[in-house]
């Protein structure tokens, strides 16, 4: 047994951490130049990584930084979906292209199979909601149903769609965690078919997205906790650092316990990303549920331990807290994954 990163991954982590600490200007091309984007894809897809541990380390570092980059939604999820279907993703890898997956719908909640958007041949009609990174996407991947009921896993196809295609409108808005999303309306919009049956490919790519999201949340928790530890050591009330009060320091310890639970859940999930779906999903659901619970605890308690300053927009903690909490609204929330874990067998 060995929990150390390989030498290559250690180097990537060090380089990425240094880069993000000093990052200014065009962060996106910088990441591409460093090979960070290529690390999210396997060699056969044109990258040099793509394993669970590659994803975990990249997104943990991104989570630690005070940035809001839609790497999960503009690159990882649509990129792995396309690459898995045998498409060329070299434009993503060198940082010149961005994509978005238009899949989730207003009535779908967190259920991956819920698709009401209809495909009539290669013409698509329906509404997609909260499509993250939609306004920067050069191409969209759109899921639509050519047969079956809205909750069938069969009958969901995938199409490549030009954002400027006829009948397509995007309505953009800001997100709580930073960044933007759009609601997309399709009306007899033409697309290029990628596959007739896309559910399994969607499930595989969403598994990678979920892992990345948990790792990013873990990174944000680490920063929130470091900031809080520093604050407890320096903020003085009643003539002493507030961290010297057990009522606060013991709570800080509880948060460190939560952080280690979260870290282990992410490691376990990373190790299972390429396992058979049922085995993988059970571990991924455990990770998402644990990150949901520990993340909420850390976000709420780090604000509380700071007091008023933790509530301000100017102080970075509030941004980390928002990213941590809103991560629970993506790729299935705490309750969704509790139910999936139970459904997969106790």
């Amino acid at each position: 047994m060995n929990f150390d990163l390989t030498e290559e991954r250690q180097m990537l982590q060090d380089t990425l951490r240094r880069f993000l600490a000093e990052a200014q200007g065009d962060v996106w091309s910088g990441l591409a130049e460093l090979g960070v984007i290529a690390a999210l894809f396997s060699e056969e897809q044109g990258g040099f990584g793509g394993a669970g541990f590659d994803l975990a380390l990249v997104f943990e570092e991104l989570g630690r930084a005070d940035l809001s980059l839609p790497l999960i939604d503009a690159v990882l999820v649509p990129g792995r979906l396309l690459a898995g279907l045998g498409e060329d993703v070299s434009g993503l890898m060198d940082g010149t292209e961005r994509l978005a997956l238009a899949h989730t719908e207003a009535n779908g909640r967190y259920d991956l199979e819920w698709v009401e958007t209809r495909a009539d041949g290669d013409r698509l009609s329906g509404e997609k909601s909260a499509v993250i990174a939609a306004s920067t996407a050069d191409r969209l991947i759109v899921s639509a149903r050519h047969s079956g009921a809205p909750d069938d896993t069969a009958g969901i196809g995938l199409w490549l769609v030009d954002p400027d295609a006829p009948g397509l409108t995007r309505r953009s808005y800001a997100l709580a965690q930073g960044g933007e999303a759009a609601d997309i309306s399709l009306s007899d919009t033409p697309g290029t078919r990628l596959t007739e049956e896309g559910f399994d490919a969607l499930a595989d790519t969403m598994a990678a997205g979920l892992l990345a999201q948990t790792a990013e949340t873990l990174g944000a928790m680490e920063t929130a906790l470091t900031m809080t530890q520093d604050y407890l050591g320096t903020r003085k009330q009643f003539g002493r650092p507030i961290g010297s009060f057990q009522a606060l320091s013991h709570r800080m310890v509880d948060l460190m316990v939560a952080q280690e639970q979260a870290r282990s859940a992410v490691i376990l999930a990373a190790a299972h990303l390429d396992h058979p779906a049922e085995e993988r999903d059970r571990v991924l659901s455990a990770a998402k549920n644990i990150l949901g619970r520990t993340g909420q605890l850390v976000a709420e308690e780090t604000i509380q331990l700071h007091g008023g300053i933790g509530m301000t927009d100017e102080y970075a903690l509030s941004r980390f807290a928002k990213r941590i909490v809103m991560a629970d609204h993506r790729f299935g929330d705490t309750d969704h994954h509790m139910e999936r874990f139970i459904a997969l067998g106790l």
Binding site: A130, Y173, A174, A176, A181, Q237, A247, V325, H329, D335
Partner: protein
């Protein structure tokens, strides 16, 4: 024991409900329901409505223009107003300064300031906390030095709620720098239009700007604006804080919030069915509802004792802790219920906007509200300070 309201109190409740039905404009209630922030006009409008009815100052004696209600009436009134999503009464003049002036103000101060609170001539804010004096309020440093018939004030206050609308601020200032911490503090009324007063907004985690920093640079305040005795301000400050802690349980807010959660969870679909039918989610709602039923009863037990003449003491710390926990759990449930629809977020959602965010569940700004209400366990004496107050009372024998 009899847990039902007296006939008299039931009639009172009906009267309050009838008033709200007749006088609260639906569009104003809708703003509250959607967690949009209210503008100055909204508050002023509602204050005027209440004042016309004689209900703006429920806790004031009749001789000062108050309703002189007992604690049970006040609780009924506050809960019904909250459940109807009426604007909250801005507490700084009415619940905080008013009682201090009744008890410690000079007759001239009472005659001048109290009517102006009722008729809306003055909007008061509170100058208590400072960057270095939060939970440790007595560490405050803002100084007032006597210079003839004036005090000259220098320093900084923070977390000044709705200070952007205020023209007056009551402040704790240090008038004797040599005295021990709690001694040497005075209670001063300051006109915010005086040269040297500067208000800077603080943007909060939800993008809203309800709190401010207030800076004082050589601000000259006439000595007649000193309340009570010089260097006795800490006594008045503590008196004020006991009034700040009325309606601390927030039962009405919680009931309104819980109703909203159920509404959202009835609209939200999971695999084609209403989310509220999901046993896992229903259990979360049920647990909070049970806690609220018990807490509301605790609140009534304490309120009844207060109405019978016993001043609420350390129990108000318990109510603040449990009341705010429940309110925060409810904002958490609203966010959960909305699911992916909680993601859209912009300060426009808080401020009101011409182009509203997509909101198919009509849930309102649930994420912003969840983050904003983190403040409940921080302000008004953080929940840690409430535990400290109660622990000191409980462990008297152990020290």
């Amino acid at each position: 024991m009899d847990l039902t309201l007296s006939t008299e109190m039931q009639a009172f409740r009906d009267e309050v409900c009838a008033f709200l039905a007749a006088e609260l404009p639906p569009e104003l209630a809708e703003k509250g329901r959607r967690h949009q922030s209210l503008d100055k006009r909204d508050y002023e409008f509602w204050h005027a409505k209440l004042n016309d009815r004689g209900w703006l100052a429920p806790n004031w004696p009749k001789r000062f223009g108050g309703a002189e209600w007992d604690a049970v009436q006040r609780t009924i009134f506050e809960d019904e107003c909250a459940m109807a999503h009426a604007p909250r009464v801005v507490p700084f003049g009415l619940s905080m300064l008013g009682p201090v002036l009744h008890k410690f103000g000079s007759e001239a101060q009472q005659n001048h300031w109290l009517p102006r609170i009722l008729d809306g001539s003055d909007w008061w804010c509170q100058g208590y906390s400072e960057p270095g004096a939060g939970s440790d309020l007595a560490a405050l440093k803002t100084a007032a030095a006597r210079d003839g018939e004036h005090y000259v004030v220098n320093g900084q206050k923070t977390w000044t709620t709705l200070g952007q609308h205020a023209n007056m601020i009551f402040c704790l200032v240090r008038t004797d720098p040599a005295a021990k911490k709690q001694e040497g503090i005075s209670f001063l009324l300051i006109d915010m239009d005086t040269p040297g007063v500067e208000v800077r907004p603080i943007t909060l985690i939800d993008g809203g700007a309800e709190v401010n920093e207030v800076w004082f640079t050589d601000v000259r305040v006439p000595v007649e604006n000193l309340v009570g005795q010089e260097n006795a301000g800490w006594t008045y400050a503590k008196y004020l804080l006991t009034h700040e802690r009325t309606n601390i349980a927030g039962v009405g807010f919680s009931r309104a919030g819980l109703a909203a959660v159920k509404r959202i969870a009835t609209r939200a679909r999971q695999r084609g069915r209403p989310l509220i039918e999901n046993p896992h989610f229903a259990a979360r709602v049920a647990q909070v509802e049970m806690d609220l039923m018990a807490m509301a009863t605790t609140n009534l037990r304490i309120v009844s004792r207060a109405a019978a003449g016993q001043a609420p003491g350390v129990e108000s710390s318990l109510l603040k802790i449990k009341g705010t926990q429940i309110r925060q759990e409810i904002t958490d449930l609203a966010r959960r219920a909305a699911g992916p629809h909680a993601l859209p977020f912009a300060s426009e959602a808080v401020e009101g906007s011409n182009e509203p965010l997509p909101d198919p569940l009509e849930a309102g700004a649930v994420a912003a509200s969840y983050f904003n209400n983190r403040k409940l366990s921080i302000f008004g004496g953080s929940n840690e300070i409430q535990r400290e107050i109660y622990a000191k009372h409980l462990m008297k024998g152990a020290s």
